[in-house]
Amino acid sequence: CGLRRAARERPRWGAMARTAAVALVDAQNAPLFLKRFDAGEDLDLLFTVHSALDSFEETMLPGRKAARKSYLGLLNLIDGQAVYGFLSNTLVKTIVVLDVAASGFAVPSDTVMEDLLKRLYNCYVATISNPFFELGTPLQAPSAKGGDAPAAGSHEAQLELQRSFERRISAVVQAAVIA
């Protein structure tokens, strides 16, 4: 009787893992962009991402550089969260954190994850290729602190581009079906 209840409570095979967060980290390991899609602390996300950076470092060692592919696959699985990474040739790291506890620790296939990570990285490429985006401005839109008057023309333009980048990332994540 107890066993049957457990079987009913276990989520069905094939239930989708949800994307908990997306992060982009630059070549100097400084965070470029962080976004949580579930309720949680930003600090927790930073911790998860930071611990994943070690896995990136491993592939950048001189011995393993030659055989390195861009898509690094599953880097980490802790606290019911699976961390996937993608390292571009410019050493920009794209990281996706999946909440797999809800789907019974079913880990999605590599093809699906590689596709998602590539599309997120392409959002980044599209945004910085925009001639009106000033390189060096942060990708992350500053969190709204009430009372700030709208900044001068070019700052406003950058803010718009930052928001549009965030929208693109969100759109890719919504469209992604991780089964």
Partner: protein, 212 residues
């Protein structure tokens, strides 16, 4: 000899102008010419071109705060490019004199745009006199990755192309007006340039010139 006469009457009976059959072969001929010329020319990477143009426009926007001034500058630059580009175009393609403005428009689209940008804009929206048409670019290589910020509202991003058309055609004695009537960056479906023939430039001799 009856056969040709009946064909003629058939064509006019159907209500189409007599030269209806000719444009399609003419169009095919120019399409083929465009492809051959495109094949012969040296190529550069499309992304390099797009990013270079983007950097140029972004720089202009930063330096001249007024958007209309930027549009004017782009058009002027295009004009200077067009004056020189026409010689390159005529040398590489060897197209003969055009019989009509319609033919010119087809050549511009199928040979000119194809050779230099590898796109063939759709020529359409002709006016009654056949002196004005639009070139519709479905997929514009200049506009990849570009998102106009709201501070640049009114910026005609492809104004350089309008200038090129004006400069090139002026060198072959056609005074034209070209302007962007719809822009994919401003939310329209696609980018369209309207080209209007104003008049044919007659050779102007100096007043002091006397026939000896």
């Amino acid at each position: 000899w009856r056969a040709p006469a009946s064909k003629q009457s058939e064509r006019s009976a159907r209500g189409r102008p007599a030269s209806a059959a000719a444009p399609s072969t003419m169009q095919n001929r120019y399409t083929r010419l465009g492809e051959t010329c495109y094949g012969k020319l040296d190529k550069i990477s499309a992304e390099l071109f797009t990013l270079t143009y983007g950097a140029l426009v972004a720089d202009l926007v930063r330096n001249y705060k007024d958007v209309d001034e930027v549009n004017g500058k782009l058009e002027q630059m295009g004009y200077n490019i067009g004056l020189r580009l026409i010689d390159e175009f005529l040398a590489k393609s060897g197209v003969p004199r055009c019989g009509s403005f319609r033919e010119s428009a087809e050549i511009i689209s199928r040979v000119g745009f194809k050779m230099f940008l590898n796109v063939t804009p759709e020529v359409g929206n002709w006016n009654e006199q056949g002196t004005s048409c639009t070139f519709a670019l479905e997929d514009n290589p200049l506009e990849d990755f570009v998102e106009l910020p709201s501070s640049a509202k009114g910026l005609k991003y492809c104004n350089l192309l309008c200038g090129v058309l004006r400069g090139a055609l002026e060198s072959v004695h056609l005074a034209v007006e070209s302007e962007i009537v719809s822009d994919a960056l401003m939310g329209d479906a696609r980018t369209e340039i309207r080209l209007t023939l104003k008049h044919i430039i007659e050779d102007q001799t100096n007043e002091d010139y006397h026939d000896e």
